[in-house]
Every structure is written in structure tokens, then in C-alpha cells.
Amino acid sequence: MLWTLSNRGSLLQTRKILTPAQVTQQIINDLTIQAATVNGSGSQTANLVLTRAIFHMGIPVAPKNVFPSNIEGLPTWYQLRVTPEGHMARSDKVDILIAFNVATWHQDLKTVRQGGVVIHEEAFSTAEARTDVTYYPVPFSKLAKSKIQNDTLRKQLANMIYVGVVGGVLGIPWEALEHGVRRQFLSKPKAVQVNLDAIKVGFDYWQDNFSKQDPYRLEPMSGAVEGKVLVEGNQAAALGALMGGVTVCAWYPITPSSSLCENLIAYSDRFRTDPSSGEKRISVVQAEDELAALGMAIGAGWAGARAMTSTSGPGISLMAEFSGLAYYAEVPVVIFDIQRIGPSTGLPTRTSQADVAFAFTLSHGDTRHIVLLPGTVEECYEFGRDAFDYADRFQTPVFVLSDLDLGMNLWMTPEFKYPEKAFDRGKVLSKADLERLAGDWGRYRDVDGDGITYRTLPGTDHAAAGYFTRGSGHDEFARYTESADAYARNMDRLAHKLETARHALPAPVVDETPHSRVGLIAFGSTHSAVVEAREALAAAGRAVDYLRLRALPISDEVAAFVSRHDRVYVAEQNRDGQVYDLVRLALPPELVDRVRSIRHYNGQPIPAAAITEPLTQREAVPA
């Protein structure tokens, strides 16, 4: 079937014109828009307006920004997926292409699915164009020149023209577009009208020059997005940290982590600053590097503040030594790792789940850290908040592993819940406690049998409070010793402490049907692809159970889950199957062979197909 158009004397006028009957075979609210634009041209704002307009119609949206490591000029793509079910994973099929970048035009055209729509700059060469898509050529440059009066903003506003065209093609009500603009420019109300005018240029152009030739439509929905908000994982984590009581944050800029601390700064200006005195109930320090960032956070954690840093893979590498010190000196600190592809420059704007194994054992020597694995933006908030409780309670670094996809994209989520619990500040002895104990206290003495010892904070006014903090070479009273026995005792206690922690960390979320013999294990942002993959697999008659891992070290529930299944696939976004390895290490030998690995590691957020396809193939021919 050739979708054609007769409009505007375009290249396809010789092809078959769609009959009204064919146009009525509509695809409603289930499509993926991909805008191919130029980085730094203002397209991101246009894409967000479009996203907010569609969300305002009550339709679930899942935007993914695929951007270059560049300030201006390189190609960038924005994928806006719309599904009635609220699928959040990236789609690997493009229904509607907005081709705004001549440099990627031919490549972009190849990504459109058969029967899809191509809205493109009219001036682009269409000599080798595909014949199985519908084209809406629009003279964007000419329209921008003739219709946009604002010289300084013309480049940015030109992007808004395509928002109007998409609105026309998909039938987005003008009221929704208007809402999208007002929402996007909440803090800059002066910008609303010029942007609306630019959208109107595109909207009118479509009305005046085209008739609907494609099957895609958006229609208002109800019941799908009520009570939902659009939040980036880094916004959620920053809010979590704020609600978790962070008072010292030291950081060094790095993509894709920077926006976490930048949001924290913005929220702190609003919620942690005394309007009259200017006093701040938080200090956010931009450090000279990641070593200093973690050093400052550890210094603050040692002195009793709730302290954090946020970084990505290259920063995690630099933090290895200090992480080991904090582990052995038993200093609470929270480290957010918004994973990306690395090392060095790597692909700094591409997502990854490849820091898991490294973060888990970060440091030389025998080291195991608590690692939290948020799978949704809601968990970025909750874990970002609760990480401070875990750090204080277990007196150790706590890593929160998010990633670029989770951290920097907007996700539809239920509103976050206000915390019910008070802070858990852990075992800290006050002056009164020390008086009661008559000074009978040892910093690293395990009096409760859980491996967690009592600490004092600098500034505690008691002669027995002070001790000299150092790495692993110390006895129960924090005195330096090279005693073999004391060293081994301390190592065993630390292992015991982590075992205590393992049982207290967020438990896996298990979703099982009574009869399935096949299971999936995933964590972090892979979750969204698993949700969709399971629906597709179930629809194809292959129900698959699911365990979502939410923390390291690995919970006993993983072994129990594997024991209830014949085959369990660990799906993750790294090349080496890092969690696949960790899962197998945690299993009794007889279960190890049941575990298989599904890996996605091209830097793009994992689509459901990256799970359904290998799983279906391998299940068809069980190993």
C-alpha cells in the first residue's frame, strides 16, 4: 500500500491517492514521533511543548531525548512515544518523522516505519525518497523568514512551526497546544505569545495546504494520566535528597549527572533559604574534581551532616580511593551515579547500566557497597531520600545507580508520596549517652551483634568522645594496630554489617503467575522495557514472571525466584552481563545453570523488542 498525497505538487503526485475509507483505518493515540533537529537550535523547547500538549489531552507520553555531546550544531533527536497503555520504553519504530536537519535527512528517512508520516523541510532533496510513507513537505525556512517578525528569536521559533504542523496532522486541539506553551513558559510568561504565534503559523499552514492522508490521530483520553506528573529522574532524586535531609552536597559537573545537583541548588534556593537573612540550611559546593567532591561529602558525613555527591562513570572511577576509605572508616555518605557510556569521553550522552559491578566493589581491597537500583522516577525520589537513612544506619557509602535515560528524560509518574518516617540517624552517641556509659565505648566495638558499631560526632563535649578516624588498620577502639587478629576481626565484622544491611534494603519486586516456568530479572531503567515485553510475550501466549532487583548485595529472594523457574533471563544494559554474573554468584550451585543473559548495550535506551526477540528465540529452542 502506498500512502500518497496530492498536495502542493510534491514529488509524489503521481502516486495513488488515498481513499476516504483508507483514511478511516485510523491509528489512535498509539504512535511514536521522532523530531530530528539540530542541537542548540531551540528544538528541545518545541519538543517539550508538544509533549505537554499531548499529555494535557490525557494521553500517556514517554519522551526520550537523544542528544549529542555538543553545545550547538550536531544532530539531535527527540522521540515522543504515545501509547494508550502508557508504555514508557523507547520504541524502535518511528511513526511520524519531523525532519528538520538536512545533515541526517537520508538516515532519518530510513527509520520511519512503512506507512509512516514524514513532515520535512520542503527544500530537502527527495530524489531518493521512499515511496511507502506519507510526506508533508513544509517550507519551514521560508515560513520562518516571512511570518516570524522577531529577528533574534527566529531560529528558535522556527522549531515551534513544526509543533503547529504536527498539531494539524494529528488533530491536537488548539487549546492543548496553548496549554503546552503556557506550561513550558511558566517562568517566562512574556514568551508565551510569540511561541503561540509561531505554532499558529505551522498549524494554519497545514490547514491551508494539506488534507489528511495518513492514519494517525490523537484523541483526548480520560483515566490514563489523572494524578500523574512528568518528572525527570534527576529532578526526582534531587527532591528525594532534599526530603532525605541532605545538608552538604559536593559535586563536579558531568553529563548526565549535573542536572541532579543543579536541581538541588534550585530547590534549595526555594526551600532551604531563609528569605530574610539569606541563611542556607544546605551547602552545595561545586568542587574542583570528583575526588574533592567525595572528600567533602565524606568530611561532612564524618562530622554528622547528611552528605552526598552526584556523578557519572568517570567520576566514580576517581572516587574509588575515597569510597574505600569511607567503607573502612565507616562514614555515611550517599553517592549518586547517573550512568552513561564511558570511560573518558566515551559517549557521554548515551545511556548505560555498566557501572554496576564496579560501583558495587569500588575501591581496592575487599569492599562491598550498598547499591540502590531505582527502576522508576518514583524510586529515584524514594531511594534518593532513603539512601541517607541507609548510609546513617549502616555507616557506609550508599550508591544510588540511576542512568541517563532515567535521569535526564521526562517520565510519567504518579505524584510522589510525602515521607511518613522520621530520619534514621543511626547509632550516634551523644554526650548524655557517653555519660551513661561512663565512657565505656569503642568506636568499632560491636555491642549489638549486628556488625554496626556506635559512633560519636566531632564536637561532642565528652572526654571519651574523640577518636582518630582512619582506614582499615585499627582495633575496636579505633587505635592504630597492625595486629593480624584485630585486622581479621574487623574485616569479619564489616562483612557481617553488610549482611545485616542486605536484609534491610529494598526487597525485589516480584510479579508471578502460578504456572510460568520462565522468569525475567531486571533492574533500573530496563524495567520499562520489561513491562512492555511481558505484555507482548503474554499476548503471544508466553507469560513470563518478573523479579525486579532493587538493591545490592543480592537478596535471598533472587535464589527463591530462580528456584521456582526453569529458566531465568537477566536483562540489562551492559555488554558483559554484570548483574547476570552477580546473580549467579549469589545462587547455590544447583541453580546457576538456570540463569541466562539478555544484554543491550548500544547506548540507546533498551526497547521492549530487545527483550522479546532474544527471549522468544531462545525459548523456541531451549538450551
Binding site: A250, E321, G471
Partner: protein, 340 residues
Amino acid sequence: MSATLNRIGLPRDAYKGAATTLCAGCGHNSITNHMIKALYELGVEPHRLAKMSGIGCSSKTPAYFVESAHGFNGVHGRMPSLTTGAQLANRQLIMLGVSGDGDTASIGLGQFMHMIRRNIDCTYIIEDNGTYGLTKGQFSATADLGSVQKKGAVNTFQPIDPCAVALTLGCSFVARSFSGDGKQVVPLIKAAIAHQGTAVIDIISPCVTFNDHDGSTKSYSWVKDHEESIADVSFIPYFEEVQVDYEPGTIRDVRLHDGSHILLKKLGDDHDPTDRRAAIRVIEEGRTAGHLVTGLLYVDTSMQDFATTEHIPDRPLKDLGEEELRLSKEQFAQFMSEFA
């Protein structure tokens, strides 16, 4: 008990620490004693003291004074960042950092410089012997060009002068002294503690094992022969009345934040310790003349320390609770609704 008590009622012994494990005769041990004297005489409350260090011989010394105070032996060259964080968590702490020349001028140069740039309120003592002691005698970055190692190797690189670096960066308190000169070191430490901001004291401290031989510019004999004091330093704490044999024109009085005073009796050429360019010049002239210039090189009491610049309240951040740190339920609901 006949022990003399200081103004907060503590004997000198309350400022002692564990027995040193450094070599007998090490300059660092002298500095430890100077610190004990300074802290005792100032009447620093031990529980408010935070002794910070990195790695090396110098960094072991916080164990050897004020045992009842908290201390943190961090990682090599990174003490400034730990100090920065601790200071932000609790502004009431008196941060006293002890570092060495390797810890400061090699692995830790970056953090040293950024600590100064931020003007963290801390005393930063460099126990400077121009050599790596714990790893048995390699040259450090402060070793002078042409100085000779114990085994005969000659240093072929220009030294980094921590005082010159600190001055160039606008450090608000820069001094140099010699471990054997308690009369100068003790008042400098007191003034550094009273100073609100980063106070760097580079104390030449000969390494008796690896760098105290003819040919070393950081040996006892070399320093004794080449030391040129730019001023005789006295320190009058805020709780003592200023009473000195005041001779106009020969004494300079610098008032510190807490109301205490440093008094500098001019010796030799006039040096104005509030003139940064003069401080750099005096170091350069000393270098040319082959002299080690000691004393208070520079002080600026007007510069805000980091926590003040950052608008950190006097009440320690560590003591804030849910009420002060969390959004209220109403604020939270409003904030969430803004994401719709």
C-alpha cells in the same frame, strides 16, 4: 595536683596524645609539641578541635596531640576536601590540618590550592622536610634545586614554594617558620587558629633520617645558618589585654576576627604583613640571597571565610532535623502539582 591549668581549667596534659612513632629527633615531633603548647595556652576546648591529615609522616602526628579530640587521617593529598566538608557540617569546629610537603605540594597541590581559593576556615600546617620519609627518602616537590639526597642523588627540579603558591592564590594568612623555633612557631599557630579563613604555615622540619645532612637545604644546620626572621611574632589572644612594650614604628598590630592580636616586632627590613606584593617580594629576595625568610608573611583579616560566603548558619548543619530540612506537606503538594 599542682599542674597549672589554662583558662578553661585544663592542664597541659589534656592536650597530649599518644606517644610518637616518628624517628627520634624528627622536626615533626617538635611541631607536635608547639601545637600542644599553642592549644593549651589558647585554651582550645578539645571537643571542638578537629585534627585533619592526609598521608605521610606528618599526617600521623594528629595522633600525638589532644587525644580526646576527633581526628581524621584521610587519603593522600585530600585532607583539604575532608576539612571543607567537616567545616560545612559544623562551623563550630576548629579545623586544624597537618600535612607534609608531599601531601601538599605533590599529590595534594590541587586540593591545597582550592582550599585557599575558597578560604576554608582552617589552620593548615605543612611539616616540610623536602623528602618522602615513610617511603624512605625520595625527593619531594619542595626539595630545592641542587639539594642532595642521602644516597647522593641531586635534585634537578625547581622547588614548589607552598608560601609563594598560597600568596599568589590570595591566601588570607601565610607564614613560614622552622620546627626548631618554638618562640616563633607557637604564636604563629595561635594566630592561625584565631584567624577566620585559611591559615597556611609552612614549617621547615628537617628529616633526621633522610634529609638532615650536608647538601640538604632542609637540614637543621642549613636552616640555622640561613634563617632570616622578618619579624618577631607575638600573639595576644582575645581574652588577654594587649600589654606590650609598645614602640611606635617598630611594632605592627594585626587584629584578628575574634578580637585577638598578632604583634609583629620589626627586625631588619620593614615588612608590612598586609601587603601581599611585599610578601611575594620578600620570599623572592630571600630565595635570591639564599635565605629562608620566616615569620608572618601575609595576613588579610577582611576576607570572608567559605562558610560565611556560603551563608551557612552558625548552628551546625548536622544538627538540623526534619522540621528544618523537609518541605512541609503543603509545600510538597504544591511542588508536585507543578510537575503536572
